[in-house]
C-alpha cells in the first residue's frame, strides 16, 4: 500500500519529505511573516527595482531560505532592460 502511494506521489521516503516540509513551515512560523507580508515585500522590491530597470513583475519570486546559522531572503527577478537614467527623484 505504501509502495503504491509512493508511486502516486512520485517522491522518496515520506520521512524526508516531512522533514523538508517542516523546515520550511517552521522557518515561516518563527519569523512570523504572513503570506500577506511576503506579498508586500515582493511588491516593494518590484517598485524599487522598477525605478532603475524594466522587470518582468510576474517573474518575481521572494523566498526565505535557512542556512546552517543564517536565514536569507532570496529573490529572482527577470530583468528586461536597464534604464540609462534612473527614474527616481
Amino acid at each position: 500500500m505504501l509502495g503504491i502511494l509512493r508511486r502516486i506521489w512520485g517522491d522518496g521516503a515520506s520521512g524526508q519529505v516531512a522533514r523538508k516540509r517542516m523546515q520550511f513551515v517552521l522557518m515561516h512560523d518563527r519569523i512570523d511573516i504572513t503570506p500577506d507580508m511576503m506579498e508586500a515585500v515582493k511588491n516593494d522590491i518590484i517598485k524599487v527595482l522598477s525605478r532603475y530597470m524594466e522587470i518582468d513583475g510576474g517573474s518575481v519570486k521572494v523566498d526565505l531560505e535557512e542556512g546552517k546559522d543564517f536565514m536569507a531572503l532570496i529573490s529572482n527577478v527577470q530583468v528586461k532592460r536597464v534604464y540609462r537614467h534612473s527614474t527616481s527623484g
Binding site: 521516503a13 515520506s14 516540509r21 517552521l26 518563527r30
Partner: protein, 262 residues
C-alpha cells in the same frame, strides 16, 4: 530548599502529556522523592483516570485557589506510593477560573513542601497554557514524530522562551523504529534538528501504554516494559543522573539492565 516545578506541555492534544506526567511522577516517587502532580486541564481533566484515582476526588485545584479547602484536602494520595499525590483539575469550571498570579502562588507553596511539582498542561496556547506555565521553572515539551505535533511543539517552545522559562527539554513520544528504518518517519535526529531543543528522551510506540492507561496503573510499575524503561530513563535524567539516552531500551547497557531486573 524549594523543589523543582516542571510543566509538561505540547501545544497539540493527544500526544501523551498526561501519560508523561503520570510516569515521570511515579518514577520520581519510587526514588523516594516527595512528588505532587497538578492537573491544570480545567474542564477536561484526565490525570485522575490515568493514575487510577478518579473515585477519590472531593476537592479540586479551583477549590484550593478559591479558598474553599486547604490544599492538603485536595491532594489525593497514590494507591501504591504514599509520597506521591495529585491535585485534580475542576471538571465543571473554565480555564479562566484561575489566573497566572494564583498559579504562581500555588506552585511556589507546593515547591516549598515537595521535591517535585509536575504540572499537566492543557492542549492549546490560550489561558490554560499560560496558567500552567506561569509557576514552572522547567518545561518538558512532548511531541510525536508527526508534522502537526512538531509544528505545535515549535510554537510552544517559542512561547516558553518568550515567557522566560529557563529550562526547556524535548520528549519524543510514540517513535516507531521500524518506520524510521524504512524512512517513513522522521528520526529523533531530524526532530531535534528542527526544534533545536535538548532531548530528554524518546518513548517507543507501544501497546503497553494503552493497556496501562486502561487499568489506571502507570507503565513504569512494569519493569519489563520498554516504554516504561524510557520514562524511567527520562525521570533519572531530570533528576540529574547521567543515564545515557540509548541506555533506556536498547544497547548493551539496556540489555544488561533488563537481564538483571526481568
Amino acid at each position: 530548599m524549594a523543589g523543582k516545578t516542571i510543566v509538561v506541555t505540547s501545544g497539540k492534544g493527544g500526544v501523551g502529556k498526561t501519560t508523561t506526567v503520570a510516569n515521570l511522577g511515579t518514577t520520581l516517587a519510587k526514588k523516594k522523592y516527595n512528588v505532587v502532580l497538578l492537573d491544570t486541564d480545567i474542564g477536561l481533566r484526565n490525570l485522575d483516570v490515568v493514575m487510577g484515582l478518579e473515585n477519590r476526588i472531593v476537592y479540586n485545584i479551583v477549590d484550593v485557589i478559591e479558598g474553599k479547602c486547604r490544599k492538603e484536602q485536595a491532594m489525593i494520595r497514590d494507591r501504591k506510593l504514599s509520597n506521591l499525590c495529585m491535585i485534580p483539575a475542576a471538571q465543571t469550571r473554565e480555564k479562566n477560573s484561575i489566573t497566572e498570579e494564583q498559579m504562581k502562588e500555588l506552585c511556589s507553596s507546593l515547591a516549598a513542601e515537595f521535591d517535585y511539582v509536575i504540572i499537566d498542561c492543557p492542549a492549546g496556547i490560550e489561558q490554560g497554557f499560560k496558567n500552567a506555565i506561569a509557576g514552572a521553572d522547567t518545561a518538558l515539551v512532548v511531541t510525536t514524530p508527526e508534522v502537526s505535533a512538531i509544528r505545535d511543539a515549535d510554537r510552544v517552545i517559542g512561547l516558553l522562551e518568550a515567557a522566560l522559562v529557563r529550562q526547556i527539554s524535548l520528549i519524543i513520544n510514540r517513535l516507531n523504529a521500524k518506520m524510521v528504518k524504512k524512512g517513513d518517519m522522521m528520526s529523533t535526529n531530524d526532530i531535534i534538528a528542527l526544534l533545536s531543543v535538548p532531548l530528554l528522551g524518546v518513548v517507543p510506540e507501544s501497546e503497553e501504554v494503552v493497556v496501562s492507561t486502561n487499568r489506571g496503573v502507570p507503565l513504569v510499575h512494569d519493569r519489563s516494559s520498554k516504554a516504561g524503561a524510557a520514562f524511567r530513563g527520562m525521570a533519572a535524567r531530570l533528576n540529574g543522573e547521567s543515564i545515557p539516552l540509548d541506555g533506556d531500551s536498547r544497547g548493551f547497557f539496556g540489555r544488561m539492565k533488563r537481564l538483571i531486573w526481568d
